[in-house]
């Protein structure tokens, strides 16, 4: 008996419509390309400044007094002079960094100078903020050869603000 081919075709290929999928895929691609932005990473410098600390009395005897970094600005707000504990260092961040590194030394761990040392930033009112971040970078650490951060001073605070210059 002859068996009839019910479909009538010999070998019909089942075609999946690809066009809608490709449309959607291209729309997704366009969305991601349009919203893509190369942004530099951001990081934080932590500062702990409770209100009580502003009005508290003399520091405890066993605690080292903070190292005072005084930053003076010229009339344009640029850095004119850095002083560490009233010793002028010019405007060299490297010099400041070396001084701090010398004070802190290589001792790390609980109770070490690195953990207890404190820096107080005393800035002119109109000093541009980027110079403050430069100084904080110089005192808070450095990158070693393999790109890891070696911490120096972690306790950083601001001195009471100086008055705004009269116009």
């Amino acid at each position: 008996m002859k068996v009839r081919n019910l479909s009538g075709n010999k070998s019909e290929r089942v075609e999946i419509p690809m066009t809608p999928m490709i449309d959607i895929v291209f729309q997704l691609l366009v969305f991601f390309i349009m919203t893509f932005q190369i942004v530099a990473q951001e990081g934080d410098f932590n500062i702990r400044m409770p209100m009580a600390a502003m009005s508290e009395g003399p520091p405890p005897i066993d605690k080292l007094p903070p190292m005072v970094v005084r930053m003076q600005a010229d009339s344009q707000g640029n850095l004119a002079q850095i002083s560490l504990n009233q010793r002028p260092l010019g405007v060299s961040m490297q010099l400041l960094h070396d001084e701090i590194r010398q004070v802190i030394g290589d001792d790390r761990g609980p109770g070490s100078l690195q953990e207890t040392a404190e820096v107080e930033l005393d800035c002119d009112y109109h000093l541009r903020y980027e110079h403050v971040i430069e100084v904080i970078t110089a005192v808070s650490g450095y990158l070693d050869g393999s790109g890891n951060i070696v911490r120096l001073v972690e306790n950083i605070k601001f001195a009471p603000p100086r008055p705004a210059p009269s116009q």
């Binding site: 691609l29 530099a40 990473q41 502003m54």
Partner: protein, 146 residues
């Protein structure tokens, strides 16, 4: 004479490599897309620092304040003077109180413009201190130039 039927085959290009490539491109952009743009502001140009590395984990309760070059604060997309910040800080403090958490859990992230006067940054810190916030984070952009 018998005429041979011509085979009418649809000529279609091979789409597979193109689709593969497109999916790879989508995967690339999906992985790199940064949805944290919401807390950034184009008006603020952050100062650079080689030590500014992203934190290991998310902050517990961050409050981001943008300080413009002119010394005003942008919070929630609204630009206000530093002296007008109290209601916003009180609201944040109330939210923390309702959640039963101390104010020391909150971190005020200051995204200051690099040319802003430092005195303004200090005024901003003082304003936050008067609302009993005590932990601050000065945000900087990672310096990849050297």
């Amino acid at each position: 004479m018998r005429i041979k039927k011509k085979n009418s085959e649809v000529v279609g290009g091979d789409m597979t490599p193109m689709i593969d490539m497109t999916f790879q491109l989508i995967a690339f952009f999906m992985v790199l897309i940064n949805f944290t743009q919401a807390e950034q502001d184009d008006r603020i140009v952050l100062p650079d620092s080689e030590l500014a590395k992203p934190p290991d984990g998310p902050l517990d309760y961050p409050i981001t304040l943008h300080l413009t070059k002119e010394g005003t604060v942008i919070i929630g997309g609204e630009e206000i003077p530093i002296s007008g910040l109290q209601p916003y800080l009180s609201r944040e403090a109330n939210v923390l109180r309702i959640r039963g958490r101390p104010l020391s859990d909150a971190t005020i992230i200051i995204r200051g413009h690099k040319d802003a006067p430092t005195g303004r940054v200090q005024e901003l810190i003082k304003e936050c201190q008067s609302s009993n916030f005590e932990t601050f984070a000065l945000r900087a952009k990672e310096d990849v130039g050297n």
